[in-house]
C-alpha cells in the first residue's frame, strides 16, 4: 500500500532513466473510472509541466515513479475541470463519511498498486482521517520512512473506504463533471443528513441541497435548524424552492414560508401547484404558536358509521403518508368532529365493526386559536399521539402530530 503524500513531491524518471520532473499532483478521472489515478502531473520548475497517463507508469515506490515511455511521449498539462486533484481537492479538505455519518478531514489517501504487463495502475482504496496520516504528514522528510512506518503501526487507524467518501463541492458544474451524485447522502436518515449539513459552510450546504432530489432535500430541510433552512430557501430561485416545499407536509412548508420575507414567500407560493399552495396559505393565516400554526391539513377522516374494512380499503386507495398515520378522525352525519380511532385499534378490529365502536374516549379536539401551552397540556393529559383541530362549527380542519409537539417543546428547553 502506498500513500498519496509519499508520492507527491517524489521524483519521476522516464524509460531511459532520465529525470523528468517532480510529482506535483495526482488526478482521478471519475467520469471514466471512479478510483483510478488517471494522470500524474510532473512539475519541471520553469518549464511547462507534463502529464503522464496511467498506462505510462511502469514502477512506483515511495518518492519515486518510473515511466515506461520516454519523456517526449508525454503531453503538456492543461487544466481540466473533470479531473479530481488528490492534493488540491482531497488532501486537508473536509469530506462526508457516509458510513460513519459525519464530516471529517482528510489526512492522507491510501493507494493500491495493480500490476498488469509492464504498467502499474494506482487505485484509491481509502482515505486516512486518523492519527496515522497525521503522524506521517508531520514527520515526512524529517524522519526515515522506516521509522515512520514503525511508528504508524503503533497508532490507531481511522480510515474511510473510498466508496463511502462523499466529496463536498459547492460548484454545481464541477459536481456534474466529477460525477458527484450524493446518492449515498440520499440514503441516509434526513436527521443525520441535517446534522452533517450543520457542520458545513453555507456554500457547501447550498451545494448539497442543490444536488439532492426534491423529496430528500425537503426531508433534510425539515430537520435542519430553522435559521439555516431559512437561509437556504432564501438563496434558491422561487421555482426550485417551490419544488422542494411541495414535497414537505403543508405545516412544515408553512413554517418555512412564515420565516421568509412576505414578498419572497408570495413568490414561492405562486410557483407551487394550486391545491398545495391553498393548503399552505390556509395554514399561514394562523399565528405560529397556536394550534392552527402547529397543525397539518393532511389527515384522514371518515364517517363514524363506516365499517372497518371499508375504511382500510379506502386508506389503501389513497396516497396517505403511512409513516405519520397514527389516528383516523371520525365525523358524524353533520360533518362534525365526533372522535378518534387509533390505528392500533383499527388493525385488530373485526372487518365488519363500525368505526364508532372503536373510538377512544373522550373525543378531544382543540380550536385553532388555542395557544401552544394548551396543546401541550392536552397531549400530556390524555397521552395523545395526534390531536384534531376543529373550527367554530366543530368541523375538523387539521391535526397536530406528537412529533411536532416534541419538536416545539424541545425548542423551548
Amino acid at each position: 500500500m502506498l500513500h498519496a503524500t509519499e508520492l507527491l513531491g517524489g521524483e519521476a524518471y522516464d524509460s531511459a532513466g532520465n529525470f523528468v520532473g517532480r510529482v506535483t499532483e495526482l488526478f482521478l478521472e471519475p467520469a471514466d473510472q471512479p478510483n483510478r489515478v488517471a494522470r500524474v502531473l510532473l512539475g519541471r520548475g520553469k518549464y511547462l509541466p507534463l502529464v503522464a497517463r496511467y498506462d505510462h507508469i511502469g514502477f512506483v515506490a515511495p518518492g519515486v515513479i518510473k515511466l515506461n515511455v520516454e519523456e517526449k511521449a508525454l503531453d503538456y498539462y492543461g487544466p481540466n475541470e473533470s479531473w479530481l486533484a488528490v492534493g488540491k481537492d482531497l488532501l486537508d479538505q473536509q469530506i462526508i463519511d457516509t458510513s460513519g455519518r459525519k464530516v471529517v478531514r482528510v489526512n492522507d489517501i491510501d493507494l493500491a498498486e495493480q500490476r498488469t504487463n509492464g504498467t502499474v495502475e494506482l487505485r484509491v482504496t481509502q482515505v486516512d482521517v486518523g492519527l496515522t496520516g497525521a503522524a506521517r504528514r508531520l514527520l515526512q522528510g524529517l524522519a526515515s520512512p522506516g521509522l515512520i512506518r514503525r511508528l504508524q503501526e503503533k497508532l490507531p487507524t481511522r480510515v474511510i473506504r473510498w466508496e463511502f467518501v462523499n466529496l463536498i463541492e459547492p460548484d454545481p458544474l464541477r459536481r456534474v463533471k466529477l460525477r458527484i451524485t450524493n446518492q449515498q447522502l440520499a440514503r441516509m436518515h434526513p436527521a443525520d443528513l441535517a446534522d452533517i449539513m450543520e457542520d458545513l459552510s453555507p456554500a457547501e450546504r447550498q451545494g448539497i441541497i442543490a444536488s439532492l432530489d426534491e423529496e430528500t432535500a425537503a426531508e433534510a430541510l425539515a430537520e435542519l435548524d430553522k435559521r439555516l433552512t431559512k437561509e437556504i430557501v432564501e438563496t434558491m430561485t422561487p421555482d426550485k424552492a417551490a419544488d422542494i416545499l411541495e414535497e414537505m407536509d403543508p405545516d412544515q412548508a408553512a413554517d418555512v414560508l412564515a420565516d421568509l420575507a412576505p414578498e419572497r414567500s408570495q413568490e414561492v407560493l405562486q410557483e407551487m401547484p394550486g391545491n398545495e399552495a391553498r393548503d399552505v396559505r390556509a395554514l399561514l393565516q394562523f399565528e405560529e404558536d397556536t394550534a392552527g400554526g402547529m397543525m397539518n391539513t393532511e389527515f384522514v377522516y371518515v364517517g363514524e358509521t363506516a365499517r372497518r374494512d371499508e375504511v382500510v380499503s379506502w386508506i389503501r386507495s389513497r396516497d396517505v403518508n403511512l409513516e405519520s398515520l397514527d389516528s383516523v378522525f371520525l365525523i358524524d352525519d353533520g360533518a362534525h368532529f365526533s372522535g378518534v380511532v387509533s390505528v392500533g385499534r383499527l388493525l385488530l378490529a373485526a372487518p365488519e365493526q363500525q368505526m364508532v365502536e372503536l373510538k377512544s374516549e373522550p373525543p378531544v379536539s382543540v380550536r385553532p386559536d388555542a395557544n401552544e401551552k394548551e396543546v401541550f397540556d392536552l397531549f400530556d393529559k390524555y397521552n395523545l399521539r395526534s390531536l384534531s383541530v376543529v373550527d367554530s362549527n366543530s368541523r375538523p380542519i387539521g391535526s397536530i402530530a406528537v412529533d411536532d409537539v416534541i419538536t416545539r417543546m424541545h425548542r423551548q428547553l
Binding site: L91, D92, Q93, Q94, K102, V104, R105, V106, N107, V129, A134, R137, L138, L200, S201, P202, A203, E204, D225, R227, L228, E231
Partner: protein, 439 residues
C-alpha cells in the same frame, strides 16, 4: 373627568404612540438585525482586556500618567482592521481560521501554528488564574480557595452550556468592565488634561516609554483572539447578508475595548502617577495602592474588574485553543456538541483549565517567568498568524468580491508590519531585560 374624555385622551395617546411606533420601526428593525449578530466582536475585543492587559494598562498609567493615552486611537484602528478581516472571513467562507489555514497551506504549517498556540495559550491561561488569585487577595480570599472555585465555575459554564447561553453570560461579563469607568471617576482625574493627551500624541524617546508603548500594543492585539472571533462568527452561523451587522459588532467591540483601556490608564494616572507610586508589578498591586489614594470603593471596583476580566478570559482562552486545535486537526469541536461527540475538544479544554489553575497553586511557582514566556510566545505567534490572515483574506477564490480593497490592504499591511516590529521588540526585551542599545 368623565369616561368619554378619558377614552378620548387614551385614544389620542394611542394614536400618537402608533405614530411614534411607525417612525421608529426602521430604527427598531435595524437594532433587532444588529442584536441578532452582536456577540463575537464585542466579546472578543473585551476579553482582550484580560489580567495581563490590565496589569500593563495600570503600569502605563502609574509610570507615565496620561502620556501614553494618545496611543489608544491608533490602537483602536489596528484592532478594528485586524479583527474585521477575521470577521469577514468567518462570515463569507463559513469556516474557521485554522480550517482555512489547513485547507490552503497544508498539514505541517497548521500543526506548528497550533502547537505554538497551545503552548502560548497555556501560559496565558495561567496568567488569567494569577489574575483571579491577585483580585481574590484584595477581597481577603486565599488563592487556594479562589483559584479552584474559579476553575470549576469556568469549566461548568462551558461543559453545561449551549453556545447561545454561554454567549449571553459573556456579554454580561463585558458590561462589568464598566467598573473601571466608575473606578476612574472615583479617582477624580482632570478630564480636560486627559482629553488633551488622548488627542495630541506626546512622544518621548526614552527606553522605558517606548517599552511601555510596545507592551501596550502587544497585549492589546493577541493572536488567539483572531481564531476565537472567526470561530464564533462561524458557530453563530452569521450569514453573508448579515455582514454589515457583524462589522458593526467588531467596530463596537474594538471601541469599547479601548474605552476601558482609557479609563484604566486615567484611573492609575490620576492617582498612582500623581502621588509618585510609579513602580507597580501587576494589576493586583495597582488595586491595593488605590486604597489610600482614591478610597476603598475605587480599589474594590478595580479589583472586581480584574476578577471579572480574569474569569472571562480564563473561560474563553481554553475554549478558543481547544477549538483551534480540533478544527485544524479535523476533530469534532464546539460547545454545542456533547462530550461523547467531541471528546478531544472537551479533554483539551479541561486539561488547560486544570493545568493553568494548578500552576498558580504551586508554592513559589515562577509566575513572572510564565508571564514573560507567554508574552514572548504571543509575539512569535502573532506575525505568522497576521501574515496567514492577510494572504487568505486576499484570495479571490475564497472571498469573492469580499477581498480587501487596496486602501484596506494598505492599512492592514502597515498595521501588520508595525505590530510585528513592536512585538519583536517586546520579545527581545523580554528575553534580554536590559535596555536596548541605541535608545
Amino acid at each position: 373627568m368623565n369616561w368619554v374624555s378619558i377614552s378620548e385622551r387614551t385614544g389620542a395617546w394611542r394614536a400618537r404612540a402608533g405614530e411614534w411606533g411607525k417612525r421608529t420601526r426602521t430604527m427598531r428593525r435595524r437594532l433587532l438585525l444588529f442584536l441578532a449578530v452582536v456577540g463575537p466582536g464585542v466579546i472578543t475585543s473585551n476579553v482582550d482586556n484580560d489580567a495581563g492587559g490590565i496589569s500593563v494598562y495600570s503600569q502605563a498609567g502609574a509610570q507615565f500618567g496620561y502620556m501614553l493615552l494618545w496611543s489608544i486611537i491608533p490602537m483602536t484602528i489596528a484592532l478594528y482592521v485586524t479583527e474585521e478581516m477575521c470577521a469577514r472571513m468567518g462570515v463569507i467562507t463559513g469556516k474557521g481560521l485554522s480550517d482555512l489555514i489547513r485547507e490552503e497551506f497544508g498539514f505541517r504549517p497548521t500543526f506548528f501554528l497550533i502547537l505554538i498556540g497551545f503552548v502560548v495559550d497555556m501560559g496565558n491561561v495561567a496568567a488569567e488564574f494569577a489574575g483571579v488569585a491577585a483580585s481574590g487577595q484584595i477581597f481577603h480570599i486565599s488563592k487556594y480557595v479562589s483559584v479552584p472555585i474559579a476553575a470549576i465555575v469556568v469549566w461548568v459554564l462551558v461543559m453545561r452550556g449551549t453556545y447561545r447561553q454561554v454567549e449571553k453570560i459573556f456579554l454580561v461579563a463585558c458590561v462589568f468592565y464598566a467598573s473601571y469607568v466608575f473606578s476612574a471617576f472615583l479617582a477624580k482625574p482632570n478630564w480636560l488634561v486627559a482629553a488633551k493627551y488622548t488627542a495630541i500624541p506626546s512622544v518621548h524617546l526614552n527606553a522605558g516609554y517606548l517599552l511601555m508603548l510596545t507592551a501596550l500594543v502587544g497585549t492589546t492585539i493577541a493572536p488567539w483572539q483572531f481564531f476565537y472571533m472567526q470561530a464564533s462568527f462561524v458557530e453563530k452561523r452569521v450569514a453573508k447578508k448579515q455582514y454589515p451587522q457583524a462589522r458593526a459588532d467588531v467596530l463596537i467591540g474594538s471601541i469599547s475595548c479601548m474605552i476601558v483601556v482609557f479609563f484604566i490608564i486615567v484611573c492609575t494616572g490620576a492617582t498612582l502617577y500623581v502621588h509618585g507610586h510609579r513602580n507597580i508589578v501587576d494589576a493586583g498591586e495597582a488595586a491595593q495602592a488605590l486604597v489610600p489614594l482614591a478610597g476603598r470603593w475605587a480599589a474594590l471596583l478595580f479589583a472586581f474588574g480584574l476578577l471579572n476580566a480574569s474569569l472571562f478570559a480564563a473561560s474563553i482562552l481554553p475554549l478558543s485553543t481547544a477549538h483551534v486545535i480540533c478544527e485544524g486537526m479535523g476533530f469534532e469541536a464546539g460547545i454545542d456538541h456533547k462530550f461523547k461527540d467531541a471528546p478531544i475538544f472537551y479533554s483539551l479544554y479541561t486539561a488547560m483549565i486544570v493545568v493553568g489553575g494548578a500552576v498558580i497553586l504551586i508554592p513559589h511557582a515562577p509566575l513572572e517567568k510564565i508571564l514573560i514566556l507567554s508574552q514572548v510566545g504571543n509575539g512569535i505567534w502573532l506575525p505568522i498568524v497576521l501574515i496567514f490572515m492577510l494572504l487568505l483574506v486576499n484570495r479571490r477564490d475564497l472571498m469573492g468580491e469580499f477581498v480587501n480593497t487596496r486602501t484596506f490592504n494598505l492599512i492592514a499591511w502597515v498595521t501588520a508590519v508595525a505590530m510585528i516590529a513592536l512585538t519583536l521588540i517586546l520579545v527581545y526585551t523580554a528575553i534580554f531585560p536590559t535596555p536596548m542599545p541605541g535608545i
